[in-house]
Symmetry: C2
Subunit: 93 residues, 2 copies
């Protein structure tokens, strides 16, 4: 395996798992007030398009890395609304 | 220009500007307590590696999109410490 391939795999790894630290923090703190959900919508739109791009090109590394990113960014959007709703219902009581 | 190229450009656009909504929110709210800085470090590591990958491959779209992402994610990391420090000094007074 050449150097450039290793750099590509490492690069793909870091950009794929990028959302994980924010997911973990939101899950533990249940507080997302400072988080911009639009960031995750923008990235989700991007990785959905990259997945389609990969499918058309039959490029498996692009399909897999962006497919995982889709799941992770989708999870963070779900957490955003779940913990925003929770703090909203708490205020109503 | 073929369909697949348009999809690739759009995908690159969304993933490149992904950090912008969070940067704008942090700049206006000056509050970053719920934000995970490790997310931006992970993505920064990834886009630095993608930029190196692009330089080796002489692939200008990869160099440009990830170069911009480097600046944006670097900006968010700067904002994170700037607004975290500020709220820290306010507590100390």
């Amino acid at each position: 395996m050449e150097w450039v391939e290793i750099i590509g795999i490492l690069a793909g790894f870091f950009t794929t798992i990028g959302a994980v630290p924010q997911i973990v923090k939101a899950y533990h703190s249940k507080s997302v007030g400072d988080v911009s959900v639009w960031m995750f919508f923008a990235i989700l739109a991007g990785v959905i398009l990259w997945t389609i791009y990969g499918l058309i090109q039959k490029d498996w590394p692009i399909i897999i890395t962006n497919g995982i990113s889709m799941l992770l960014n989708g999870t963070m959007i779900y957490f955003y609304y779940k913990f925003t709703e929770k703090s909203f219902t708490r205020k109503k009581r």
